[in-house]
Subunit: 420 residues, 2 copies
């Protein structure tokens, strides 16, 4: 990018490339922040003025938290919690982990860093990014033939970058499959509060397994959740947890030992996690405000999801599945041959070429689908091209973004449509 | 421990086993916590009542921080920072890292987890826990003969668990040694604000190297610091940094890439780190209060260090080096033969046996020296026995602790002195 300000035909960059809600204007939940603020500065709990600035609900909760903390202060080490899984599962390069394609790249990065092998399976774009068991089975068998011991299967639901919510029937098939094949289920369920369609609900894989009659002895499930997403959007606070079901005491002991090498997670993140897990309840003074803030955020995200997906679908050569959950649209672009050729000439993948042109012309930053390894789908004769675009900019910003997007897209297509 | 409360001859446990200042009553620095509290709840910045509860200094700083943050909020992802080193240095089991004995066990744990080999060198108890270059050289040569590639040397200054502050002459020798042998210096300097003796000062290894005329081309140094210790004692906030000097751009690029896999560190920790690095200055409204709090903490710790070390030294069969820095006393215990025999009969190391007896009789929790692998010093004909005891309990608590310690020790020695 040029260094001289004003040399671009847009006033600012719209960061649709990263799921970073508060950087895009999502306001934090008042109750959460009041509690954190009081825990940081417990002296406030003894001042009269505090009652003018904070809700009684937040004051009570902060008092409880501070009383439960070592030294009655939020700066001490707390107990070490659990924050790892690839480290435990991977012993060598011969250990494989099934992961969806398009993938969330931190999974492959983590598998590589721990010396294992990623075994990708393709999600079905034509089937609303659903997970087809025969495809997963095919990949598992290929990996076994290649000499790998496949230890676990990653499932992201709601999906990142693909935004689908798995149907319960699909979830049941996955549980049966993992149980039969002896795979640990690594259930990335961090978007569980981000569901936007009426006909689908979030169900945890643990609940699905239990409803099928399987208990801790039948299947091992690790579920991940975090305060980064959902309605709280507190990415920077680094709070989250994993629930580990169906492992022996010996394994749990080793997990705790490895976790304790990094000592405790940060106290703000832990406090936030405790608030998200134990939110205000009916009857609490701040219950209604809390619920209203939460539902406002969800409804607004649902509206933005719909607006963006239909805007993408209205463009020539673009198709976009419904954004059922999570915080991303992942539209497919059918690019003219001349655009693909021009990308190659610049040493870029075609979707990267498109994303760079879009950024330079409009300031809208998106991630090319090849960043999620979508293009390398093994059973595809030719690559497919996508972009991932968060639904996080405020409703006004999205409204303002769409005409710019359309104008750019038309001129891009005009430029390349008739070239040879 | 029994489950029935009141069944022990002490009212509560005194946790001298962990360097956890705020759990033992150290109060956090007011300025730091006011800023954190405001950053958590920036709505306070627009309220009049806030001026009655917070210093103008803290209000100004919080405003600056919030304005510099993505989305003007402390919940967004920020830039990824650096938080790793063993991962970068260790390629295989043939890679060795020199570490001091007695050791801080997270170093050996981290080396093991990353698949490398720890190469221990002994600190000299008779030389005030100083570092003797001929001993380090002996260990380096032995490791090389055994086929290891030694890549780096860990130096902890001020020392943990040993509490020494290295002399500048000693530091110069270490720099010369690492430069000559091509070792990366891993300088654990987290206790740099915890120095209690008049005749010694903290000098960073970077400064010592530069004063000898060595620049980035001559020697590679990584210095670690954190907000956990020093006067802030904010362990639970997980804020810290490493400064990396003398590595090429290619290595720095890889370090940033690996760091980014864990996304950004938590914002509270980052805010605290920024405050500790850029504290109130002369002329700022809160400068004098800030300096007074800081110096109060240091002076009080200095007093406690002296009191505890001389209490230990006054006991039969115990010798304790001066606690020059950090937050631990590491006295040596010369145990009667019968006590060592009794420990063996219970399948414990003698220092663990002593520490358990101490805990059960008095509620004082310390860590046996064998937890720091002190006993395995290779050039020692017989093991030596130690305990590590933090100096963190408040002055009153330490005063109350000492008679209980003395009484226990006398009765322990009486029990075992004349047994065969």
């Amino acid at each position: 990018m040029e260094k001289s300000p004003g040399s671009r035909p847009f006033p600012e960059i719209t960061y649709c490339n990263l799921g970073n809600p508060q950087a895009l204007g999502q306001r934090p939940i008042t109750f959460f922040r009041e509690v954190l603020s009081l825990c940081d500065n417990p002296a406030l709990l003894h001042r009269d003025e505090t009652r003018m600035l904070f809700s009684p609900c937040a004051i009570n909760r902060a008092r409880k938290i501070i009383e439960s903390m070592p030294g009655r202060n939020s700066g001490a080490y707390t107990n070490s919690q659990i924050n790892l899984s690839m480290q435990i599962l991977i012993r060598s390069q011969e250990d494989g982990i099934l992961c969806p394609l398009p993938e969330y790249p931190l999974y492959s990065a983590s598998i590589i860093l721990h010396g294992g092998t990623m075994v990708p399976y393709n999600l079905s774009e034509d089937g609303d990014w659903g997970l087809e068991i025969f495809e997963v089975k095919r990949c598992l068998e290929e990996a076994r033939i290649a000499g790998l011991t496949v230890r676990a299967m990653v499932i992201i639901n709601p999906g990142n970058p693909t935004g689908q919510v798995l149907s319960i029937t699909n979830q049941e098939e996955i549980v049966e499959f993992c149980r039969k094949e002896g795979l640990v289920m690594l259930a990335d369920e961090v978007y569980q509060d981000n569901v936007y369609v009426e006909d689908k609900k979030f169900h945890s894989f643990k609940k699905v397994a239990r409803s099928l009659g399987y208990d801790e002895n039948d299947i091992s499930i690790v579920s991940f959740h975090s305060v980064s997403m959902g309605f709280s959007g507190e990415c920077g606070r680094r709070g989250g947890y994993m629930e580990i079901c169906g492992f022996g005491d010996d394994v749990m002991g080793e997990i705790r030992k490895v976790a304790s090498v990094t000592l405790c997670p940060n106290t703000s993140g832990q406090i936030l996690t405790s608030l998200a897990m134990d939110p205000p309840k009916l009857g609490d003074g701040c219950f209604e405000d809390f619920m209203a803030e939460k539902e406002d955020i969800r409804l607004s995200l649902a509206k933005r999801a719909k607006t963006l997906a239909s805007a993408f679908s209205s463009l020539e050569g673009m198709t976009c599945n419904k954004v059922e959950g999570a915080i991303y649209a992942f539209p497919r672009i059918h690019l003219p041959a001349a655009a693909i050729k021009a990308a190659k000439a610049e040493g870029m993948s075609p979707d990267m070429f498109y994303a760079c042109r879009l950024l330079n012309a409009t300031g809208i930053a998106v991630v090319p689908g090849s960043g999620f390894h979508q293009v390398s789908g093994r059973n595809k004769a030719t690559g497919t091209w996508h972009i991932r675009c968060t639904i996080l900019p405020g409703e006004d910003k999205i409204k303002a973004m769409i005409p710019r997007l359309k104008e750019f897209h038309e001129s891009f297509m005009n430029e390349f449509r008739n070239r040879s």
